[in-house]
Structures are given as structure tokens and as C-alpha cells.
């Protein structure tokens, strides 16, 4: 008996070990290492470093640029949360309502998602810095003739446009999958009852895609807080640090010239804390509503 249990556990370990080795080396160790370094003044090069307690965290809390990047990121997340999900649901519903052409549209809308946002960012850079000024000149539509990359007021929207362009398709696919799960008889019954399209959507479709909404909101929150590529490609966080998001701020602190690994690790831990708290709150709320719906 005991030998069988032992054997079972041994087998389990043998099966899990390869994954565990890699996971421990490249995910767990860096995570715990980061927590440790966040309490030191390590500069990434020097072999010796000192323990500084929570002073890195205290410094981060008073770091103007870190707080600004935090605020910029929050603003970005809020815009993304609303716009991305709204657009994705809209596209999903409309694409699903089509007969012919459905496949085409789905293929097109998802396409940017296949591309790296670095590539997308450079393409949009071309649009913003070359095509828009040209169009503005030809059409006289001066709205287009802004400093889309150089003026922080506009570059926020440039970054938003790029991120939506690259992200909506993904959520749309998820919402489409959810819509396909809505049983047809339910909708037919509602339609016979004389309910309008909007009513059907509101009272039949929407509750049914609620689980998908949870996923959509979850993914948007998670990804937008970690946004890096689109900002890096478009503005690099500039001019100055005006469009810096948290990820860029951490990157700059750690890998640009100052190399303050310890301090940057503290900022990274703060980012982790924020993501964790928000995810827990969000999951709790959505789960409760889901049950009620």
C-alpha cells in the first residue's frame, strides 16, 4: 500500500519535474528574486549591494515620473476597458448578423491581432506622420494635421487607436464564440413575443454573453496595465516622459543608463500588486453578477 502511494507520487514528480525545473528557474526564481532585489540598492552591475529595506518603495511613492506613468496607465486602461469591449461586442453582434461576408469580416478584423504591435506601431507611425499631414493638406481637413506623435494630448489618442486596432479583433472572436452559444429557440421565442432587436439583445443575448464579458474585461485590464509595445513603437514614452506607461518607466529605470535594478524591481512589485488587487476585485464583482443574471 505505502509503496504504491510512494510510487504514485514518484511518478507524479517524474512527469511534473521537467516543467517544474524550467518554471522554477525562469518564473518562480525571478519572481522571488525580484522581491528580494526590491529591498536592495543593487545597480545591476556591481557584485555587491546593500539591503535598504522598504526605502525603494518609499522612493517610488514620491517619484513624480513613476506616479505620472501610473496615472497615464490608469487613464489608458479606462479608455481601453470601455472602448475595446464596446467595439468588440458591436463588431461581434454585427458580424454575426450577416449571412454572406461574415467570414471575410471576421478574418479582416482579427488580422491586426496576428501582427506584433511593434510592426503595427511603425505602420501607424507612418500614417500619423506622413499620410495624415498629406491628407490634411489635400482635403483641408485640418483635424488630421496634428502632431500625433509629438504632442502628448494627441499622442494619447494615437496610442489608443493603435492599441484598439491591434486588440479589438481578439475580443471580437471571444464574443462571437459566446454569441454562437446563445440558443436560437430562445431568441426566436423572444422575437415571436414581439420583442425588438434591441430588446432581444438586451434581455436575451447580453445575459448569455456575460461570462464572455468577464473574460473580455479581465483580458483588457490585464493587458492594458502591462502595455509596452504600442507605446514603445509609437512614442517611446516621449516627448520626454509624457506618454510613459508603467512598463516603460520600469524598463527605463532598469535598463537605461541608471541601471537601478533594485529600485526598478520595487516599481515592478508595485505593478504586480496593483494588477493582483484589481483582478481579484474584478473577478469577485463579475462572478457575483454572473450568478444573479
Amino acid at each position: 500500500m505505502t509503496s504504491r502511494v510512494w510510487k504514485k507520487h514518484a511518478m507524479l514528480l517524474v512527469f511534473v519535474l521537467p516543467a517544474l525545473v524550467f518554471y522554477a528557474a525562469f518564473t518562480l526564481a525571478p519572481a522571488f528574486g525580484g522581491m528580494w532585489y526590491s529591498l536592495t540598492d543593487w545597480n545591476g552591475l556591481n557584485p555587491s549591494y546593500g539591503f535598504v529595506g522598504l526605502s525603494n518603495y518609499a522612493e517610488a511613492m514620491g517619484d513624480r515620473y513613476f506616479l505620472k506613468s501610473l496615472w497615464f496607465t490608469v487613464k489608458f486602461v479606462l479608455f481601453m476597458l470601455v472602448l475595446q469591449n464596446l467595439l468588440a461586442i458591436l463588431l461581434a453582434v454585427l458580424v454575426e448578423s450577416l449571412g454572406r461576408g461574415k467570414v471575410w469580416f471576421r478574418t479582416i478584423f482579427f488580422m491586426p491581432n496576428m501582427l506584433s504591435l511593434i510592426i503595427g506601431g511603425f505602420m501607424w507611425m507612418f500614417i500619423f506622420t506622413r499620410v495624415f499631414p498629406y491628407l490634411a493638406e489635400k482635403t483641408g481637413w485640418m483635424l488630421l494635421d496634428q502632431s500625433w506623435i509629438g504632442d502628448p494630448r494627441y499622442s494619447f489618442f494615437a496610442i489608443l487607436a493603435l492599441s484598439l486596432w491591434g486588440g479589438v479583433g481578439y475580443l471580437m472572436v471571444i464574443y462571437i464564440a459566446a454569441l454562437q452559444g446563445v440558443p436560437k429557440p430562445l431568441k426566436e421565442a423572444a422575437a415571436i413575443d414581439g420583442a425588438g432587436a434591441f430588446h432581444i439583445f438586451r434581455h436575451v443575448t447580453l445575459p448569455m454573453i456575460y461570462p464572455a464579458l468577464t473574460i473580455g474585461v479581465f483580458l483588457t485590464l490585464n493587458n492594458s496595465f502591462k502595455v509596452f509595445d504600442s507605446v514603445y513603437a509609437l512614442t517611446g514614452g516621449g516627448p520626454g516622459r509624457t506618454t510613459q506607461v508603467i512598463a516603460i518607466n520600469i524598463y527605463e529605470e532598469a535598463f537605461s543608463f541608471s541601471n537601478r535594478y533594485g529600485y526598478a524591481s520595487a516599481k515592478a512589485m508595485i505593478l504586480f500588486g496593483i494588477v493582483l488587487i484589481i483582478t481579484i476585485i474584478q473577478l469577485a464583482i463579475m462572478k457575483r453578477r454572473e450568478v444573479r443574471a
Binding site: F15, P18, L179
Partner: protein, 308 residues
């Protein structure tokens, strides 16, 4: 060509059944309803066409201007050139060391994907099948990390990769991806294995087959659907990942396609023809793959998101 065929197979049919049920069907008499419905459908088409235009616009502009000289671009950015200038592509091909970069990207993805699929299918299967505290603990250990943002571990990860001398090598980067990717894959396998009947294991074991053979000859083939999903998700992730390669691949000879493109962008800041050509070249493999496999990819994406 395969694009309009594949989706019309079974999943397409399923969608067709639902077709129209969501279209605008305003309340009211039959006659006006029909007209209203027509207008509604027209509006839907119009909206979707505009959205599609918006989506394709940057790609189209990149393609269009990548075959123009700088001069043509300045005269009319929207027009096709009288004579397509393919020299930009030769230029970009050489400046991004295209084949080498492409090869590097393949190595990274191949190493990473092999490891992720191989190791996490084993772990996911066994964790799902073995009850008990140890199993629960290990599973929890893997799941724990899925919330940690990459930026929170990147600094130390780079240090570790330096220590292990993985920095600068494409295969080394692939190994890092294994460590970063197994958690999510284990989670997906863990869930999927539950749908595989346990009786199979027992029957095979009674036949005298050992655990490993059972797994590789009987179980692994049955996991194919979720393996496909995992392969798609991870390939996309590794192929398009920018930050980790940027930090780990220090030598431009080992640069991935994305890094080479970024490098070219930095070096030839003002030379949009070459940059756009390089962007098109960088997109090409992904777009081809997408158009060929789009049904599976879209399915895999939805599957992965919903399960996770």
C-alpha cells in the same frame, strides 16, 4: 483561396443556422418591417465596411508605399506608382538580414514550443489524474504565477539568463520561453484531460504498458485538440514578443525578425521606403500562416481565452 472555403465547413454551418436571428427586426407590421430590415442590413454593412477599411488602411498604405521611391511618396502618398520600385525590398531584405532573422525566429519558436508542449502535456496530464495534496500543491504553484506581469520578473530573469549564459543565444531564449509558458499550458491541459475517460488509462495499464508508453502512445494523441490550441497561442506569443528578445539577444546576429526590423527603423529613421518594405517582409510569414490556417487560429484563440 483556402480562406473562403475552410470556414464554410462545419463551424461555418453552425453559424449560418444562427444567421439573421440577430439582425434588426423592428416591431411593427410585416411590410414596414421588411423595409426596415433592409435598411438595417444596409447600415450594418456600411458600418462594417468602414471598420474593415480602418483595419486594413495601415497595412494597405505600408504595402502601397513600399513599392515607391521617396519622391513618388512625396508627390502622392495615396497613388500607385507608375513603375513599382522593388529595390526597396532588396534593400530591406539585406538590411534586416531577412533569412537569418527569420531562421532565428524559427529556432526560438521551435525550441520554446517543443518544450512547452512536451513538458506541460506530461505535467498537466499527471496532475489532473493524481489526486492528493502534493498534486494540488504543485498545480497551485503553477497557477499562482499566471497573474504576475512579465515586467515584474523581467529584471531578475535577465540577470538569471546572464548567469546561466543563455543571454545572446536564440536557443537560450527558447528555453526561457519554456519556463514562462508552461504554467498556462499546464492549466489548459489539466482541464482538457478531465474529458479523456480514465478507463483508457486503466485498460492500458492492465495491458502491461508502463506509464510513459501509455502517455506517449495513448494519451498524447487524444490531447491533440488542446495541443493545437496551445501551439497556436504560444507560437503567436513567441513570434510577436518584443521585450524579452530585446533584453536577451544582445548580438544582432541572433536577432529575431522583429528585432531586426526595429533596428532598421532606428538606423534608417527617415527612409520610409526601406522601412515599409521591411515591415511588409516582417508581416509576410504571419499573414500567410493566418490566411492558410485562419479557421484553426480563430478557434484556438476563442478556446484558449474561454478556458483560461
Amino acid at each position: 483561396m483556402s480562406m473562403d472555403k475552410i470556414p464554410n465547413s462545419d463551424s461555418g454551418k453552425k453559424m449560418n443556422r444562427l444567421n439573421g436571428s440577430l439582425a434588426m427586426k423592428p416591431p411593427g407590421s410585416e411590410g414596414s418591417g421588411l423595409i426596415g430590415r433592409r435598411i438595417g442590413i444596409a447600415a450594418v454593412w456600411l458600418f462594417l465596411l468602414i471598420a474593415a477599411l480602418f483595419t486594413l488602411f495601415p497595412i494597405y498604405m505600408a504595402l502601397l508605399n513600399s513599392v515607391k521611391t521617396q519622391g513618388d511618396m512625396l508627390t502622392n502618398i495615396l497613388a500607385w506608382p507608375a513603375v513599382p520600385e522593388l529595390g526597396n525590398y532588396a534593400d530591406a531584405f539585406q538590411k534586416t538580414r531577412y533569412l537569418r532573422s527569420l531562421g532565428n525566429t524559427f529556432v526560438v519558436v521551435a525550441v520554446g514550443l517543443t518544450g512547452i508542449v512536451w513538458f506541460s502535456s506530461m505535467a498537466g496530464y499527471k496532475l489532473s489524474r493524481t489526486p492528493g495534496k502534493l498534486s494540488g500543491f504543485l498545480f497551485g504553484l503553477f497557477i499562482m504565477s499566471t497573474l504576475i506581469p512579465f515586467h515584474s520578473i523581467m529584471i531578475t530573469l535577465v540577470t538569471i539568463s546572464k548567469e546561466l549564459r543563455l543571454q545572446g543565444s536564440t536557443a537560450g531564449l527558447g528555453l526561457l520561453y519554456i519556463g514562462l509558458g508552461v504554467a498556462m499550458a499546464i492549466f489548459l491541459y489539466h482541464g482538457f484531460v478531465k474529458s479523456v475517460p480514465k478507463e483508457l488509462d486503466e485498460a492500458a495499464l492492465i495491458d502491461g504498458c508502463g506509464e510513459f508508453r501509455l502517455f506517449f502512445t495513448v494519451i498524447l494523441p487524444l490531447l491533440m485538440p488542446i495541443t493545437a490550441t496551445i501551439a497556436i497561442l504560444n507560437t503567436l506569443w513567441m513570434w510577436n514578443d518584443f521585450l524579452l528578445p530585446l533584453l536577451v539577444l544582445t548580438d544582432y546576429k541572433s536577432y529575431t525578425l522583429l528585432l531586426s526590423t526595429n533596428m532598421l527603423f532606428g538606423e534608417y529613421n527617415n527612409d520610409w521606403s526601406a522601412i515599409l518594405a521591411s515591415l511588409v517582409l516582417a508581416m509576410l510569414p504571419v499573414i500567410i500562416l493566418y490566411l492558410a490556417l485562419q479557421k484553426y487560429i480563430l478557434h484556438g484563440i476563442a478556446e484558449g481565452a474561454i478556458k483560461a
